[in-house]
Symmetry: D2
Subunit: 309 residues, 4 copies
Amino acid sequence: MRVGFIGLGRMGSGMAENLVRAGHELVVYNRSRAKAEALAKFGARVADSVAEACQAETVWTMLADDDAVQHIVQGENGLLASLAPGALHISSSTIGVALSQRMTEAHDARRQRFVAAPVFGRPEAAKAAALDVVVAGARDAIKSAAPLLDAIGKKTFVVAETPSTANLVKLSGNFLIAAAIESIGEAMALVSKGGVDKRQYLEILTSTLFDAPAYKTYGALIAESRFEPAGFAAPLGLKDVRLALAAAEDLRAPMPIASLLRDRFLTLLANGGEALDWSAIGSLAAWEAGVGEVGGLPHRPEAPAVRTK
Amino acid sequence: MRVGFIGLGRMGSGMAENLVRAGHELVVYNRSRAKAEALAKFGARVADSVAEACQAETVWTMLADDDAVQHIVQGENGLLASLAPGALHISSSTIGVALSQRMTEAHDARRQRFVAAPVFGRPEAAKAAALDVVVAGARDAIKSAAPLLDAIGKKTFVVAETPSTANLVKLSGNFLIAAAIESIGEAMALVSKGGVDKRQYLEILTSTLFDAPAYKTYGALIAESRFEPAGFAAPLGLKDVRLALAAAEDLRAPMPIASLLRDRFLTLLANGGEALDWSAIGSLAAWEAGVGEVGGLPHRPEAPAVRTK
Amino acid sequence: MRVGFIGLGRMGSGMAENLVRAGHELVVYNRSRAKAEALAKFGARVADSVAEACQAETVWTMLADDDAVQHIVQGENGLLASLAPGALHISSSTIGVALSQRMTEAHDARRQRFVAAPVFGRPEAAKAAALDVVVAGARDAIKSAAPLLDAIGKKTFVVAETPSTANLVKLSGNFLIAAAIESIGEAMALVSKGGVDKRQYLEILTSTLFDAPAYKTYGALIAESRFEPAGFAAPLGLKDVRLALAAAEDLRAPMPIASLLRDRFLTLLANGGEALDWSAIGSLAAWEAGVGEVGGLPHRPEAPAVRTK
Amino acid sequence: MRVGFIGLGRMGSGMAENLVRAGHELVVYNRSRAKAEALAKFGARVADSVAEACQAETVWTMLADDDAVQHIVQGENGLLASLAPGALHISSSTIGVALSQRMTEAHDARRQRFVAAPVFGRPEAAKAAALDVVVAGARDAIKSAAPLLDAIGKKTFVVAETPSTANLVKLSGNFLIAAAIESIGEAMALVSKGGVDKRQYLEILTSTLFDAPAYKTYGALIAESRFEPAGFAAPLGLKDVRLALAAAEDLRAPMPIASLLRDRFLTLLANGGEALDWSAIGSLAAWEAGVGEVGGLPHRPEAPAVRTK
């Protein structure tokens, strides 16, 4: 199938590569052209514009955030303007429920088809075609998308006919990861202040009740205060929690842990954590307990100045 | 080895059974004698008193809470009074750090040996000798306890020489489970209000990032509002969170999620949830969102009616 | 001075009336013309359009929310398009910091002058020219606005040269009121469950440490579950907390009580509280404690019945 | 009336002085005798023991905490042992509800009479006989106590016949003060990061909606980071929040702001705030926002040591 692919960051590149491998004819576009050209060696054709990438039955987007998606989709010569009626847009970006709903309506109005297909998995999983894909959209659109989704993931979960529902599931998943990070951070601050070795503690947890990727991956980063380089940067973590809270507000669903997480991200960002991995919020409980540093960074060493009584 | 075993609830019975199977000579005691006699068929001898069970090199206790332990240990003709110098007390009850510290001092004063060896695992794991054991105490005491611990568990983690440290780890583990329950509850309230099927949602989580026993077990209970009969009753959940918070207070470690969990348990208990499983706190997010019932108990069946002043 | 006044709700009407009384020549505009005409009897002239009200040295706006302000200011034939260079816009609406910043830039670009002058006080205070006014903007603009501000308020506080700072102060003030409401709600749930009469309790508080309008006014509403008719409706309370949190997020300032308040408003709105006064969040602590109703609306009249699976 | 008075700290001394002034015959006792002797110049007689102070119709206690009260009341030759049947014990200490209940039972068993009469007000108010007194107990006991209470306070509030109810009201009042401190702290962190002067901000608040002693007193301390010397030390603040939470737990009343306050006190104490005034928790929001110091103290300047990646 001829597929346009827009957005070739660490996730998108792996996905595009796997689509080529599965025999699809790819036309790739990226804002900074170098990343697109890296795909050429696998046999993809490099497009000069979004519009050019849209000369296909299906266009796939994998972009950083709501702003990037809005720009590519609604901008001049963007997807909405360029896609033919009946063509399919697969959106894998982690975006807000509200934007996904607006895109659904906009594509509908142009008789273009739209599925939301956010993914769980890190860049290595994208490269290995081992992503978990959550998809929602009209049945015929999902049917068209299925062989493509199979090419990039190890499992596809169809959750609803309303595209934005898939985005909601993705955001809730990131909320759960952040909640696990904060929980581990609190538990580790407690036991390590009580004299327990953090690495051994993690081993106990992950060889018993918490034998899960989320606990292993993030628990290790927290135990070792290893927050650089960021696999997923703190500002993106804040963005996803904000989007989850926005969706929750629209649905009138209070989420006290999500509210706490938002505050945690703000504390991290207010104290020099912009470039750290989002798991660095897991260091804040120790910081408050007086035994740690924000994100492992020595903080405010310039010592809060003079104080006269 | 001759072992006294005190406390034959669902956990203790399984543990005692496995000690007999491993070839140890068991003298068992339980407040209500019937449970002790059930062990006789496996070859254990039934003691008429705590003091009688203490005529052994090692006495193991597996009791419900701090009060029960204090009564058995410090009471008249209790462990402290009855154990010979050099004898070993293995305490597997989930108790507070402060009580464990007081027991350590009291045993020390009488030249009795003491290890704390709380366990992770449910009654089925106790029966199958598949518990995970966290142990702390003086080296020689742990060395003496090792073959016994091997008989009841699949893995033993030695965490410190101060017995109460093992209790701290156990409490932190129960905190983490409760935190996972609350997190799942919030996420499920969100996505189910957004139209996602709760069971499918759980399948997505547990086949990807949250492929862990804690998420599978408790996620299913929440998705199905199946909180009766209680595997671990809500008041015990409150007790453990309270003990974790007390230990955290002594260590000066703020734990905001633990604070939230305490409030959740109080809400549950204030609304008729005394007999429910502790995972019923996972139903409160949906309750607040107006789409659920406390612990699966029906409420607000009538539309909030008119109220005139 | 000739003044255009746009937005004649309960607050705006009182303010406009006092401007007329102070001798200013008023041209009033309101979306629903009836409210504008009610001002005619005091000597105001009714404008047919926003643009007509803008034929003045100064235009004052007092509107419901960000959307209304955006529409009136940026819409076709709105303030931006209609005001002469050098003319002054006084904005008293409770709006977000971000919108205030955008308006500042837009007016600057057209050489129009802009001050933000949000007010503290209820409709009765507006009618009595007893509002407290918080104002920010360029010095000359504030100097021009001063006699007008004096006509509607009992005191004016100049806080900064950046207009949006006044909006920030206003939002923080509403946050503090909501925080007091929640605090009173928690304390009252506690003592009333402990057998204390709520009205007497409030008397104790307000005759001692909390002898302040916020505690007297809202404490009485909570003690008496008197949330209808709404003086300030719950959705507006949520709006203001949301705007405070948005400003705090931009400033990287975590506000845990504000986060809790947001969750409280969502709980209230998810359980039938749309039409209630915002102080109804003060009933939620009692609701959670099993002794109250959401916002005074009856619920759980039947004892939580048996549930068999 | 002949009155024994035990506990002559800053509060107790003022109260005792006023009792002498009102014409009562005072026998005073204090653990460190010097403070008792300071009262002699006003005409009080100094007792050598608790028992001696108990040779009176009425004994008043004003002590630091639960431990001190337990020691004086239940200890050898303490109040319980020394008071004659029919004699009255007035307890003004800020203690827990549970201890108050135990004392009620113990006095009842000995046919001694007991009223709880905690007070609101600082040492200056005690000296000026301007305390607010909350009292609970049997009617005849309160009737006996009334002239004495009038001598130390400006107003007495009778809240219940169960003494511990007065303690509950006192604890809830301290909760409300701490909640106001935290709220002010969050609001000030927000607006000061946004460029507003903290003192001016406080003036705005306290000349309008928050014209109350609690906001004026504590707002000024926070605005000026003036936490030394402590009027009421942070560990006492933690104690009172803990007692409020314990009472709330017994009553099954979740109090999310109280939970937050407990975490705030722990953070303060974990970061060098032991000697600061309890209002120093109002500095933590600014600390998290990256613009303040814990309690105004330069913190951890020794810079969190080595970190290798």
